[in-house]
């Protein structure tokens, strides 16, 4: 975990710092020894399955829940500690809840204006109208939440939390209630808005594509800990553990052996490529093989049997059975149609060798 020590007040000073956080619900620890840093303007994401504790992290940052031990600092000042918990309304943190929590008795305009502290009606009007226009909500500003579609509600929730200009924006599964196309388009536009406004944000989700589309850096969470905090690319190509490798992207683990030349040998043959990370010692080594690492090549002497296929539009994901009984996945352009039971030629093209 990169945890640079920065002089206070510098541009590089982290906006959010979480150190050694432990939190429990009843007798169960939900957050264990968690470290997290976010710089100003960064969009971070906690990615993990349900129950991994990611929402709890969000709620402790917001101040809705107290931590057992550790420290949470905003702008270098401590907000949560054993014996200290600054109330949520004083933290200048905005939150978008999973179910949006729009106030049903207020119009869109009033919802968005709710967090504004100014009494100046004119200023309020300007601020809110500008924001609504930016988020394409100006035409429905007099509607009530129950009259809006899911996408509209989500944008209102976002606008509402952005309006007071918070230091940090927290988002709890912001797109989980929307359909796939909406999710995609909204992810991009929300990211754009956040970047334009220079907001610092932390979102949590279990959906990888959301995380990849929205965040600068992603932390994979598992059982209360952040297992790897990295860019999307690195999480995908350089997972630091089985947990990450398993959760992020598709793939299989093949048994591997390091031969006398220091090269990696597998059932797919000897692999050329750079090893990533430390080479594990011992006999039982395995290597991560992603679907795009197995290329379909009619001219290749090596073949495998098609046991499953999954049409993906542009490509087909084949599950192939290797002669030694191991299975691999292969992503093939979809005009290569091969029936189940047939044998196709394959070739390994692995650049990053991820060994466990």
């Amino acid at each position: 975990m990169t945890n640079e020590v920065c002089p206070k007040g510098s541009l590089m000073e982290p906006l959010l710092e979480m150190k050694e956080i432990y939190q429990a619900y009843g007798k169960n620890l939900v957050i264990r020894n968690l470290f997290l840093t976010l710089k100003k303007g960064q969009i971070g994401c906690l990615l993990g399955p349900s129950g991994c504790g990611k929402t709890s992290v969000l709620r402790t940052i917001a101040g809705f829940e107290k931590i057992l031990s550790g420290e949470i600092m905003l702008h270098g000042k401590s907000v949560s500690r054993n014996g200290l918990s600054v109330p949520p309304e004083k933290r200048r943190i905005g939150m978008v809840f999973q179910d949006y929590a729009l106030f049903p008795h207020l119009t869109v305009f009033d919802n968005v204006a709710f967090g504004l502290k100014t009494d100046n009606k004119a200023r309020k009007l300007t601020l809110v109208s500008e924001l609504l226009e930016k988020m394409d909500l100006d035409r429905i500003s007099e509607r009530y939440p129950h009259e809006l579609s899911g996408g509209q509600q989500q944008r209102v929730a976002l606008a509402r939390s952005l309006a007071p200009g918070p230091d940090l924006l927290l988002m709890d599964e912001p797109f989980s209630n929307l359909d796939a196309t909406l999710r995609e388009s909204l992810s991009l536009s929300v990211r754009k808005i956040l970047k334009e406004s220079g907001a610092t944000a932390l979102m949590v989700t279990h959906n990888q594509s959301e995380a990849f589309a929205m965040a600068d850096e992603i932390g994979v969470m598992y059982e209360g800990k952040i297992v790897q905090w990295d860019s999307a690319y690195n999480l995908y190509h350089r997972p630091n553990s089985l947990i990450v490798a398993d959760f992020v992207g598709d793939g299989v683990l093949l048994p591997a052996v390091i031969n006398s030349n220091g090269k990696v040998e597998t059932a797919l043959g000897t692999l050329n490529g750079e090893t990533v990370g430390p080479v594990p010692s011992g006999k039982a080594i395995r290597i991560l093989i992603r679907p795009e690492d197995v290329v379909h090549d009619d001219d290749s002497p090596q073949t495998a049997e098609v046991v499953e296929k999954s049409f993906r539009g542009a490509s087909i994901l084949y599950t192939l059975l290797l002669p030694d009984g191991e299975k691999v996945l292969s992503l093939v352009p979809s005009h290569h149609k091969h029936p189940i039971g047939s044998h196709i030629g394959i070739r390994a093209e692995v650049t990053d060798l991820v060994l466990f």
Binding site: P88, D99, H105, F114, H146, E147, P164
Partner: protein, 544 residues
């Protein structure tokens, strides 16, 4: 524009058997109501003139005083207690959550004579205070006293409904407000409270209907309201016409209240903020607030339930020997039987009504529903008038028919049976039964129905296997509420009971009208002890 409303149906639009039943029932209810309203057109001349000149203004003022007074106090009590028990955490919360419902088992008229007995000028307490030259409480036997007693008896209605609102969206409202820079207090007043408005108002409507319809408590306090005036007109002036005219005014008030309540209940569908998806952590109260919460809840429970029960026990032990007899088992038995029968019938009818509304979610359905539940706002005396007359006519018709066809001279067929009584109960108490069941019914979403149909289940089997289990909670609440209400009911029973069908409520009234409060304590205590059981079961069920 997508309106998420459980409205548009994919079920056939032609009138179903449900609607037919509902219409028949509504027609039956309309009979007594129209008789009352029609009497408004009959000239009651002299008596009416006298009443309107001397009494009407006072009646209206008194009724308004009660409505505003009781409404305000129950709102404050109900909302504050609901917030504390639904959202916050403090020592004893679980206990208080259900025990604060206990006053529901107390008929208002029992609470009235208990408090008067304790606090009036000549009560032992006041005598004691005077003997020791301590400050005494004067003026209890006034509108303040009535408001006090009624509020303590009726706040559970607001408490119940406000809890509903707060427990599903109270905390979330606060958090949303806090995330926007408002303190918890601001969040309560600006968000949580306004959002709970439909529920709170619903509870207040129930309270107001009870206030309008009350006869026992105001009689004991000798406080003039419409019900006492109706009684006076009918049995003092022997002018059914004048009594009916006064009743029709009450009916108009009742319609207004019911109209408001109905529109509020439909608003509730739109006013949901979505349930708390995350686990339910309560708001832990800090030191001083914790003490306050416990003391407050305890104080209310103490005054509204513990103290009256203790007083009743004291009186009962004093009078037990000469009051108790084997007849008491009969009284108890009658009360129980009537309660159970009425509860069963009302549940059945309410189910039919609710289904009718579900299959035909249109204006006609809401009108029918409104008619069928209107009885709740009518005093028992008024209803009895309205039911008596058609029953007597029907009896006459049946007897004539029997005489003509079979050449026999039968006695009255319907009168003198509990038919009249139960019919009046049904009209009177349809509302609480229906509301519970209908609320549960609305939880059965369209998609539940549709998935059931795709799995091959529809019609009555679907009702059985899928709806009934979901409705179980509502059915149980309805049955319990109606049961307790019937047990407490007094005016209708007083007027329409057949030979040997005295109930505990009747006994209480007989004794209190003679000023024999100590003797009335025994039946009162019995009534309450029996009533506690369904109330406690009901509220345990609603507990978080």
């Amino acid at each position: 524009m997508i309106i998420r409303r459980l409205g548009s149906n994919l079920l056939p639009a032609r009138p179903s058997a449900w609607r037919l039943f509902a219409a028949l029932f509504a027609a039956a209810v309309m009979i007594p109501l129209s008789i009352i309203l029609l009497s408004f057109t009959k000239p009651a001349g002299d008596v009416w003139r006298h009443l309107s000149q001397t009494l009407l203004t006072d009646l209206i003022i008194n009724t308004l005083k009660l409505a505003i007074g009781v409404g305000t106090v129950t709102a404050i009590l109900g909302v504050s207690l609901a917030w504390l028990t639904a959202v916050c955490e403090f020592p004893g919360r679980k206990f208080f959550t259900w025990s604060l419902f206990l006053p529901l088992a107390f008929p208002t008229y029992v609470l009235a004579f208990v408090f008067l007995g304790m606090l009036d000028y000549s009560s032992p307490l006041q005598i004691l205070l005077r003997q020791h030259s301590l400050p005494t409480l004067s003026g209890f036997r006034s509108s303040w006293g009535v408001i006090f007693v009624m509020s303590l008896s009726l706040y559970p209605y607001v408490y119940l409904l406000a809890r509903d609102a707060f427990s599903t969206q109270g905390k979330r409202a606060l958090e949303a407000a806090q995330s926007l820079g408002h303190t918890k207090t601001e969040g309560f007043f600006k968000v949580a409270l306004p959002m709970a408005r439909p529920w709170i108002a619903g509870g207040l409507m129930l309270v107001l209907m009870e206030v309008l319809a009350d006869f026992g408590a105001v009689s004991i306090f000798n406080y003039d309201t419409f019900t006492t005036a109706i009684y006076k007109a009918w049995f003092g002036f022997f002018s059914l016409a004048a009594a009916a005219q006064l009743s029709s005014i009450l009916v108009v008030f009742a319609l207004i209240i019911l109209g408001i309540e109905n529109s509020l209940r439909s608003r509730m569908q739109f006013t949901s903020m979505g349930r708390d998806a995350f686990r339910k952590e309560r708001l832990h109260l800090g030191g001083a607030m914790k003490v306050f919460a416990v003391s407050y809840a305890f104080l209310i429970l103490f005054v509204s339930f513990v103290v009256p029960v203790i007083q009743l026990i004291l009186w009962t032990t004093a009078s037990f020997r000469y009051e108790f007899s084997s007849r008491y088992f009969d009284f108890l038995g009658h009360s129980l039987v009537l309660g159970i029968i009425t509860a069963a019938i009302i549940c059945l009818l309410a189910l039919i009504l609710s289904y009718a509304g579900r299959h035909h979610p249109d204006i006609l359905s809401s009108i029918l529903t409104r008619i069928c539940t209107m009885g709740y706002a009518l005093p028992g005396t008024v209803l009895a008038i309205g039911i008596f007359i058609p029953v007597a006519a029907a009896d006459g018709f049946l007897a004539d028919a029997a005489g003509a066809l079979l050449n026999v001279e039968p006695g009255p067929v319907l009168q003198g049976t509990i038919f009249v009584m139960v019919a009046a109960y049904i009209v009177r108490f349809m509302a609480p039964g229906f509301n519970s069941i209908d609320s549960s019914m609305r939880r059965i979403t369209r998609s539940i129905d549709e998935s059931a149909r795709t799995l091959g289940s529809k019609g009555l089997p679907m009702l059985y296997r899928i709806h009934l289990p979901i409705l179980k909670g509502g059915l149980f609440s309805a049955a319990a509420l109606v049961f307790v209400d019937v047990m407490k009911e007094m005016p209708i029973t007083l007027m329409t009971r057949p030979f040997g069908w005295d109930t505990l409520a009747v006994k209480i009234f007989e004794l209190t009208s003679e000023g024999e409060w100590e003797r009335a304590a025994l039946p009162a205590l019995t009534l309450i002890l029996v009533g506690i059981i369904p109330v406690a079961l009901l509220t345990r069920q609603a507990d978080d």
